[in-house]
């Protein structure tokens, strides 16, 4: 009997190849979406890490010679043998070929802190240590190799190679590598000629990029939902189409349990094959969308290979799990329905009933409640999921309402028919349109998030790097002050660590300079906030401290030297600590003897002043130019744009495919509804055009519905998820142009998907159209 049933199944697929192809492709694409997003995510992570990496050497505490001179190999060995763990660094201009100049940094891969050397494990391939690593965009010559972890404009090589290339014998600095051994000595006690230097400017993007990555992860989760949804849609259709077959088999005496089991087994097999196809497809897509990324299969068995993008088991297993579990879960419902129904049932008529509407409204209410009352990261993510599912449940009814509202606008019978028919066909199109809605709203949400993030960060950089020049001053700035003329205003940056309102915090002194009043806007605060701060009794705190301590303007906060009134709040993106600004005299009271570790300098001639300072004996690597710092920070976002574009393309492609699947599935049932028009004198091309219009109309209305959903998603990401995860709120930045573009792309995806079915309709044999109207010949 099993063989006979399998024979029936097989013949079904053989006769309905398009259906089988749709099922396989649907599952494969959902899987591809998941794996592709994971790959792109990982690539984004690698890119961000590369961007961040360029700052690592400068960000870590390091030892330099007090006189700015070279550190010798003997100095390095003396420190190591005394038990101070240091790693040498050296950098200078390097031309991989004429016309291209990179900054070559020499590193000792054996002692360097983790993350500095491009490869995760330098010892795994010592032969690589003889190569110079270049960023992916610079062609590698002999003795050179490209590596995705090398930031643009940089090159990395073994310290010995770098010494040879740069014609140097010693090192620029020694990085102090944490953790130091128990009881390690003070390095200055070992070598008195050395001085510990802080970074020239504090623009470590690590915390910011962490936030960005969290948001990308959220997007990955959304894609997981969308993927499952599409599998559900595809399998649901496949099951519905075979209900008759099941009915006939049962009428012939095959037990339902056997049919069900065989069907599940068959679907699991198809899902596994399609899932594998999807995993491969996802990787091809990711590689195609993100050129320059070398995907390696090294990680397929779980081996860690550092920052390089690898096909990690969690991705491909996750992809397969989506495919198989999603398929089986999706098939369970229809199977149960078939089991409960009569042996041969009429095809169920799908109409948007009150149940999905009620469920949708309940989910939206739940989402709102979670967002307002949740108070945790999990609640934030749950709110996003509830929002998306609620919106999905409401999509058919929403479309129906919009179409009903548009009905009076129709002029002429054909327009009237188009509107009426579009509305009547919502049940058949609802899965596709819901997929489109989810894809579009996720894209709008994440796109807006990325854009808000970029613009806020860019503004923040402008604000935080208001001064033209930053100089690290291990000596407290004495040498520097002597070199500054009247045309430069030094702004010493002095701070002390303290625990304020139970939060680890930093108290910064600000001198009375227009820079702060003009370039450091307050999120909230009194108009005379800065005056009151300089008067000494008040403080301005950062958003993190505000959220964590619950203190705001008007509240008193206890500083180490007594109380201060909070008069304002400033944004401080990416800082994990609380921050308080006080006047310089007040910090002197709080931390007597604190000297500025850095000095910001306002000047009209930054480049010239830099040269002057170097000529005056300040080591070049203690001076940072604002313009260079900005360009490094903002370079991160070139990557994020590529990532966002790639994600948009992927999700819209999947949604487009869902539309195609739906259209192909209902193509046969379209004929009886179109035939009357044809017999009344609309030719086939006209009918095909009308079908295109119908799909476009559905897609356009879906896009209209997706906009508010996407903006709500974005709001959740910016103001709930981010605040819970990092303690600061990203301001929302509207970008209607980008929204319109995305909505347009969504419609385009739907229209492209509708082109083939429409073309088939325009070529259908007239007999097929006439036959559906009569039973007899």
């Amino acid at each position: 009997m099993i063989r006979a049933v399998l024979g029936v199944f097989w013949s079904h697929w053989r006769r309905n190849r398009v259906q089988l192809a749709t099922l396989v492709l649907g599952i494969a694409l959902a899987t591809a979406l998941w794996t592709g997003v994971q790959a792109i995510n990982a690539e984004a992570r690698a890119g961000l890490e590369a961007a961040a990496r360029s700052a690592i050497a400068a960000e870590m505490p390091r030892l330099e010679r007090r006189d700015g001179g070279e550190i010798t190999v003997e100095d390095f060995v003396a420190l190591r043998r005394a038990g101070v763990l240091v790693a040498p660094v050296l950098s200078g201009p390097f031309q991989p070929r004429p016309g291209t100049t990179l900054t070559l940094t020499g590193i000792d891969p054996l002692t360097a802190p983790a993350g500095l050397w491009p490869q995760a494990d330098a010892t795994a391939d010592p032969a690589a240590a003889s190569r110079i690593f270049l960023p992916p965009d610079v062609a590698a010559g002999p003795g050179q190799a490209n590596h995705p972890a090398v930031p643009e404009g940089q090159a990395i090589a073994d310290i010995g190679i770098a010494q040879r290339e740069l014609g140097r014998d010693g090192f620029d600095a020694l990085i102090l590598t944490p953790p130091q051994p128990l009881g390690a000595p003070d390095p200055q006690a070992v070598l008195p000629g050395l001085v510990q230097v802080a970074a020239a400017a504090d623009t470590d993007p690590a915390d910011l990029t962490q936030s960005f990555r969290l948001n990308l992860t959220a997007f990955g989760a959304l894609c997981f939902i969308v993927g499952l949804f599409i599998v559900r849609a595809t399998v649901g259709l496949a099951m519905a189409q075979r209900r008759r077959t099941v009915g006939v088999l049962r009428a012939l005496g095959v037990p339902l349990r056997l049919v069900g089991a065989l069907m599940l087994a068959e679907l699991a097999l198809i899902a596994a094959c399609a899932g594998l196809l999807g995993v491969v497809l996802g990787y091809l897509l990711a590689t195609a969308l993100m050129p320059g990324v070398s995907l390696t299969l090294d990680g397929i068995y779980g081996a860690r290979i550092g920052s390089a993008v690898a096909l990690r088991p969690v991705w491909w297993l996750g992809g397969l799990a989506i495919a198989v579990l999603g398929t089986l879960a999706s098939a369970a419902g229809p199977l149960l329905r078939t089991a409960r129904g009569p042996v041969i049932a009429a095809p169920a008529r799908a109409r948007p009933g009150w149940l999905p509407v009620a469920a949708g409204l309940a989910l939206l209410a739940l989402s709102a409640a979670l967002a307002v009352l949740g108070g945790s990261l999990t609640a934030g993510f749950a709110a996003m999921a509830a929002l998306l599912l609620g919106a999905a449940a409401l999509t058919p009814s929403g479309l129906s309402l919009l179409l009903r509202a548009a009905a009076p606008l129709a002029r002429g019978p054909v327009a009237q028919w188009t509107l009426a028919e579009t509305r009547a066909q919502i049940p058949q199109m609802s899965l596709a349109m819901t997929a489109l809605l989810m894809a579009l709203s996720a894209n709008i949400g994440v796109g807006t998030m990325v854009d808000s993030f970029r613009r806020s960060f860019s503004d923040f950089i402008d604000q935080r790097l208001a001064a033209e020049l930053y100089v690290a001053t291990p000596d407290g700035g004495a040498a520097l002050s002597a070199l500054l003329g009247d045309d430069a205003r030094p702004l010493p940056i002095t701070w002390a660590d303290a625990e304020i309102a139970g939060q680890p915090s930093e108290i910064y002194a600000v001198v009375d300079d227009p820079t702060y009043r003009e370039d450091w806007p307050l999120l909230t605060g009194a108009p005379d906030a800065w005056d009151r701060l300089y008067a000494g009794r008040a403080t301005i705190i950062n958003e993190q401290l505000h959220y964590r301590s619950g203190l705001g303007p008007g509240d008193m906060v206890t500083l180490p030297d007594g109380p201060a009134e909070i008069v304002g709040i400033i944004a401080d993106y990416g800082n994990p600590l609380g921050k308080l600004l006080v006047s310089q005299p007040r910090l002197d009271r709080i931390a007597p003897g604190a000297v500025p570790a850095r000095i910001a300098i306002r000047t009209d001639r930054p480049q010239a002043l830099r040269d002057d300072l170097i000529a005056g004996g300040i080591p070049a690597d203690r001076i940072a130019l604002q313009a260079e710092l900005k360009s490094v920070s903002l370079r991160i976002f070139e990557r994020t744009f590529a990532v966002t574009a790639a994600l948009n393309t992927l999700t819209l492609a999947v949604a487009g495919f869902a539309v195609l699947t739906s259209l192909l599935t209902i193509a046969d049932s379209r004929l009886p509804r179109l035939a009357p028009l044809w017999s009344m004198g609309l030719d086939r091309r006209h009918l095909a055009r009308l079908e295109l219009v119908r799909v476009t109309l559905s897609a356009a209305l879906t896009a209209m519905l997706a906009l508010p959903v996407g903006l709500a998603l974005c709001w959740l990401l910016l103001t709930v998820v981010n605040v819970e995860a990092f303690g600061w709120r990203l301001p929302f930045r509207a970008d209607p142009g980008a929204w319109l573009l995305l909505m347009g792309l969504g419609c385009l995806a739907a229209v492209l998907a509708a082109l083939w079915p429409a073309w088939r309709l325009s070529r259908i044999s007239p007999r097929a159209l006439s036959e559906v109207q009569s039973l007899d010949q």
């Binding site: 190999v73 003997e74 390095f76 060995v77 190591r80 043998r81 005394a82 038990g83 763990l85 000792d108 054996l110 002692t111 494990d121 010892t123 795994a124 391939d125 010592p126 032969a127 953790p179 130091q180 051994p181 128990l182 009881g183 390690a184």
Partner: protein, 345 residues
């Protein structure tokens, strides 16, 4: 013991290995010196490093006790690996890389640190006279191997020991030529198994006095592993009657067992494959930390138990190494090293 540490060394020796494929490890030693049974180990010349051999190590393990009797163990290891048999430049030495491992193990704690260094700078190295080996501030030093100071530190530990030999140096195998497989892979291998050890161990709460025994292994070769050998189990045992036992099993298509039974007077008896019976007690998911070891020809039958079953070396090439105690026809303490097992964590 060439093979037991070969995997660890492959971390450093891999440049050649990768270029030739792992199958080449046993045969493609072109250019490196090879152990020769006709040339036994000679002292004091062979206390010096042997840069013409591919790999070499200084390995000290010490089962110790705090003053209150609480048991612990320390490990101190320096590996040398030649990156090429040829000097990098005229008059220079062959390029070397150095790797240090140090650990302290108690019943409920196992702390590990790892250091890397390139040769030629002085950051790491070894000399014969004085007898010294070092990487960073980690150091083993004495006028001769008979009287050493030993120190190492990690983020969460620091120790310092004095080791005084109470017996002679032992050459394993045939005058120090120690065979490691049926196919004839071999190394030079000598030990000082008779140290009395005393000093301090600091686990972050201040230095505390410790005392116990110590065991030094020196070994060098150029042929690490037979192709089919996947890992090894190595034992160094201090019997209460003053005897010492070194025994190992190399796991391969056919296990290869070997060892040396050392009398309290320092007289060494080589043990062949048939002289040693070694049975692991099953332990799920990781290396076996209980063993039964028998030497039927010497009336020895002991059950060996690890002090801390979780003594995994969380180094770049992970393995298991920790102090053990044994009971049966003899009692005592010692060290156990196991490689090539799946680490359950």
């Amino acid at each position: 013991m060439i093979n037991r540490r070969a995997l660890i060394l492959s971390a450093l020796a891999a440049s050649q290995a990768r270029a030739q494929g792992f199958a080449g490890l046993g045969t493609e030693s072109a250019g490196y010196a090879m152990p020769d049974p006709a040339r036994p180990i000679r002292f004091p010349q062979d206390h010096a490093p042997h840069p013409r051999y591919r790999i070499e190590w200084w390995y000290l393990t010490a089962p110790l006790s705090f003053e209150d009797g609480t048991e612990l163990g320390i490990q101190w290891t320096l590996f040398r690996s030649a990156l090429s048999p040829e000097p990098a430049g005229p008059g220079g030495a062959p390029p070397q890389a150095w790797l240090g491992h140090a650990a302290v193990t108690t019943a409920d704690l196992h702390v590990v640190s790892e250091r890397y260094a390139r040769g030629g700078t002085g950051q790491a190295g070894a000399t014969a006279a004085p007898f010294a080996a070092w990487i960073d501030e980690w150091q083993m030093q004495g006028a001769t191997p008979a009287d050493l100071t030993l120190s190492a530190a990690g983020p969460d530990f620091r120790y310092s020991l004095r080791l005084r030999a109470q017996g002679p140096l032992i050459r394993h195998g045939q005058g120090g030529y120690s065979v490691k497989s049926q196919a004839g892979q071999a190394s030079y291998y000598y030990s000082q198994p008779f140290y009395d050890a005393a000093g301090t161990v600091d686990l972050g709460d201040g230095p505390r006095a410790v005392s116990g025994a110590g065991w030094l292994d020196r070994e060098w070769s150029s042929q690490p592993l037979a192709e089919d050998q996947s890992g090894w189990d190595w034992f160094s045992l201090n019997l209460d009657d003053g005897r010492r036992l070194m025994a190992f099993r190399l796991r391969g298509a056919q296990d290869y067992k070997s060892g040396t039974l050392i009398g309290a007077d320092g007289k060494a008896v080589p043990l062949g494959d048939g002289d040693i019976l070694l049975d692991p007690a099953a332990r799920e998911g990781g290396p076996p930390t209980r063993w039964r070891l028998r030497l039927p020809g010497h009336d020895l039958d002991v059950t060996i138990t690890a002090l801390n079953p979780d003594a995994y070396m969380a180094t770049r090439i992970p393995y298991w190494e920790g102090p053990v105690a044994f009971e049966g026809t003899a009692h005592g303490r010692g060290y156990l090293e196991m490689t090539g097992y799946t680490n359950p964590r």
